[in-house]
């Protein structure tokens, strides 16, 4: 499923990141890559942005980026 389909409090493992190289490398340097475990911490109004926790780091993402991240819920 997609990251954007997860609910607040869900935990998941990243399966695939389907974005352009520059965004991908940015995500990697945040520790967001295939195999990373994440949890959903918050959504903003209208689910426009989502806050995820990856290895102790909180990261804000826009919905349009969250759609491109394939995850598996755990």
């Amino acid at each position: 499923m997609k990251l954007s389909e997860l609910k607040k409090g869900d935990r998941a493992i990243i399966k695939k990141i389907d974005t352009d190289e520059s965004l991908k490398s940015r995500l990697v340097s945040f520790g967001v890559a295939r195999g990373s475990e994440l949890s959903i911490e918050a959504y903003s109004v209208g689910n426009q942005t989502v806050e995820i926790l990856v290895d102790g780091t909180l990261i804000g993402l826009r919905r349009s980026e969250a759609v491109d991240i394939e995850v598996e819920k755990i």
């Binding site: 965004l23 990697v28 520790g31 890559a33 959504y43 903003s44 426009q48 942005t49 806050e51 290895d55």
Partner: protein, 701 residues
């Protein structure tokens, strides 16, 4: 002895700037709790135990290959400049992520020290870091420090000094995954057998670079005969790695190898003594502040409270300062016999500078509010909450940071747009930044809000003015996005820092240095401007006019009322005939439809130099022209008596929108990429300001 040149590199918000402050015992570098505080390199020299240290602070960068303009600065510096030692600053509580950059930095083959900052936080979170083990793996000295408590800082300086003297650095013992290690071994054995050397690279290093497709190395190898034998081996090696990783994208493979290494190192060196799964403080605060329904109302409430305080709390000392300057003016006035000198000092200098200084309390409160926003970690949260909203208006959530900085001063705000990656986002943000009223505009608002609204309302009015400016900025952003800067959307990915309780010292220094800056400006620039304005308002002298009125006054023969009317008339006529008056008259037709008299027009024009000058000009003009018998009425009362409500509101609107000060305009031109843009900005802001002021005036009049 030569100075040791040291460059600090690390991910954003790990405390590089604060560490330099701690090492040098100064407070000159700006510190804040969000990514992208430092956007330019800055240098600082200091002496420690008879050694000179030259520190270079770089913007934080998540990886060496820069993403945005500020990160590019770090990249270029690290690769191209000369320096002796790199201090790689890491956040001890986020070691794994920070190590990814360390792994890249190791490739630069420079002398390096790892400073594990935030040792105090790590201790609080129950993390135990095995420094010796980490040293053994990375191969460079590792020191636990805290820029906050200053522990380890002394040791860090000593180690830097040691390492600067040393010739070589130890090898690191970084282990890749098994298949990669096998291939590295195979390739490096091949190099050893052939006795092949390139630059000062070890065989292992060469093998690693080949496997991860280092372009420079390939280019160099290309011309070597060994390439013929090498090529099939590389293909085979890569094939093996591809199968293992189930991917043929070497960038992805490299990323997951690096992450695995970083994770491995962390597991080997960090022990957590605290039970997992506890709700952290940050999480608890986020549950409230990032609440889906309440988050934005809470933010608006904070802003409202800030402006309420700015007015209410600031009003008391403001009155004292105002009264103090008034009394001071009278005393000075009574001891200076010479008419012209007295007017210069009392009506020029004291009125002009006083009009600016009296708003210091308000400015300080505003700055405290902004400092809290910047240092607690709330700023990034608001950017997160507002991104959806901003995005609809064609702005990026990250634009929030320059926009908020703009409430303080527009100059650093323009510079902080460098954290925006997309050029279009950056330009739009630059163009609308002026609509965020800077601290120097605050005096104008406080003055007019104080003069035309009751004290209960004035705070709300301030809030409305600031919010209205921001809203207008959003609308303009949308218009610019649709008609001028069309283009792709930039993704929003942003780190949310931990909430931190800022130390009193940090807030103190942030606010103190800004407040001193404000006073210094009042004592220098504003002082000079006030003198200039006074001269322009007192000259050229009108001997004919004076003589004419003298005879009229004589003819009035003792009729007190008539004499004072005549004297007032004379003052007014003289002022109107002065250089400033002439300038005002020339531009009056332009401003007349907005309901501004020539004094207000002049204040707006001089305000192009600096926004504080708007009030000091009004101060001088109304002091010079004030009624003789009324004594020294305060500026607020003068305005109330001379300016209509509709004109005052239109004036506020105009000040809110028109071109920022000269210093900011220069920075704008530089950041936007040419004076051409400044010209556009001038046209853009003046048009919008005129039209909206006109509407305001027409509605209210």
């Amino acid at each position: 002895m030569d100075a040791i040149k040291i460059v600090l590199a690390g991910q954003p918000n790990v405390g590089k700037s604060m560490l330099i402050n701690a090492m040098s015992g100064s407070n000159s570098l700006k510190v804040g709790n969000f990514s992208g505080v430092t956007v330019e390199k800055s240098e600082l020299c200091f002496e420690h135990h008879c050694h000179m240290f030259e520190m270079v602070d770089l913007p934080g960068t998540y990886s060496i290959r820069g993403f945005s303009q500020d990160e590019q600065v770090a990249h270029d510096y690290l690769l191209n400049e000369k320096y002796d030692v790199i201090i790689n600053v890491l956040d001890s509580t986020h070691l794994q992520r920070n190590l990814l950059l360390t792994l890249e930095l190791l490739k630069l083959n420079k002398k390096m020290v790892l400073a594990l900052n935030m040792a105090d936080e790590a201790k609080k979170e129950g993390l135990k870091i095995d420094v010796k083990q980490l040293e053994a793996i990375i191969g460079v000295p590792v020191i636990l420090v805290s820029a906050n408590t200053k522990e380890g800082v002394e040791e860090l300086l000593e180690r830097i000094h040691d390492i600067a003297d040393r010739e070589h650095r130890d090898n690191s013992n970084i282990i890749y995954s098994n298949p990669v290690e096998e291939e590295i071994l195979a390739l490096s054995n091949f190099f050893d057998e052939r006795d092949f050397k390139l630059r000062d690279l070890s065989s292992r290093e060469m093998a690693i670079r080949i496997l991860f497709e280092d372009k420079d190395l390939y280019r160099e190898l290309h011309e070597k005969p060994i390439m013929i034998e090498l090529q099939p081996r590389i293909v085979a090696s890569l094939e093996h790695i591809y199968t293992h990783h189930d991917s043929k994208n070497i960038t992805d493979i490299k990323a997951s190898e690096y992450i695995a290494i970083a994770r491995g190192i962390r597991m080997e060196t960090v022990k957590c003594e605290r039970a997992k799964g506890q709700k952290t403080l940050t999480k608890k605060i986020d549950d409230i502040l990032l609440n889906k329904v309440l988050g934005i109302p809470i933010f608006l409430f904070f802003m409202w409270a800030l402006f309420q305080l700015t007015f209410e709390l600031g009003a008391v000392p403001m009155d004292w300062i105002d009264a103090g300057f008034g009394a001071f003016g009278e005393i000075v006035g009574s001891i200076i016999p010479h008419e012209g000198t007295r007017s210069l000092i009392v009506d020029g200098i004291i009125a002009g500078v006083g009009a600016v200084v009296m708003f210091l309390p308000n400015i300080i409160i505003l700055y405290i509010g902004l400092a809290l926003l910047e240092t607690t970690g709330y700023m990034s949260r608001v950017a997160f909450m507002l991104d959806g909203f901003f995005h609809k208006f064609g702005l990026h959530g990250k634009s929030f940071i320059p926009l908020v900085t703009g409430f303080g001063c527009t100059v650093p705000a323009y510079m902080s747009t460098r954290t925006l990656k997309s050029e279009k986002d950056r330009l739009i943000t630059l163009f609308i930044l002026g609509f965020m009223s800077c601290g120097a505009k605050l005096p104008v608002y406080v003055l007019f809000a104080g003069a035309f609204f009751g004290p209960e309302e004035a705070g709300n009015i301030l809030f409305i003015i600031y919010i209205a400016g921001a809203m207008l900025g959003l609308v303009m952003a949308k218009i610019l996005r649709i008609f001028v800067f069309k283009g792709e959307d930039e993704p929003f990915v942003m780190e949310m820092p931990k909430y931190r309780m800022p130390s009193l010292a940090l807030i103190w220094h942030t606010v103190y240095s800004k407040a001193m800056g404000y006073l210094k400006k009042a004592g220098t620039f504003i002082l000079a401007a006030s003198i200039l304005i006074w001269f322009a308002s007192a000259y050229p002298k009108q001997p004919l006019l004076g003589a004419e009125y003298e005879t009229k006054i004589e003819q009035a023969s003792g009729d007190e009322v008539k004499i004072s009317t005549l004297q007032n008339e004379l003052k007014l006529k003289e002022l109107e005939a002065s250089y400033l008056g002439q300038l005002g008259k020339v531009s009056e037709p332009f401003f007349a439809p907005l309901g501004f008299d020539w004094k207000m027009a002049v204040a707006l024009e001089t305000g192009l130099a600096a926004k504080e000058v708007v009030v000091s000009t009004l101060g001088v003009l109304y002091a010079v022209g004030d009624d003789v018998d009324e004594g020294s009425a305060s500026l607020i009362r003068e305005l109330k008596a001379n300016v209509s409500f509709a004109s005052a509101m239109a004036f506020i609107v105009f000040v809110m929108i028109y071109l920022p000060c000269l210093a900011a305009s220069m920075v704008f031109a530089k950041e936007a990429g040419g004076y051409r843009y400044l010209f556009y900005l001038f046209i853009f802001t003046t048009t919008v300001a005129w039209v909206l002021s006109f509407i305001t005036y027409r509605i209210l009049v």
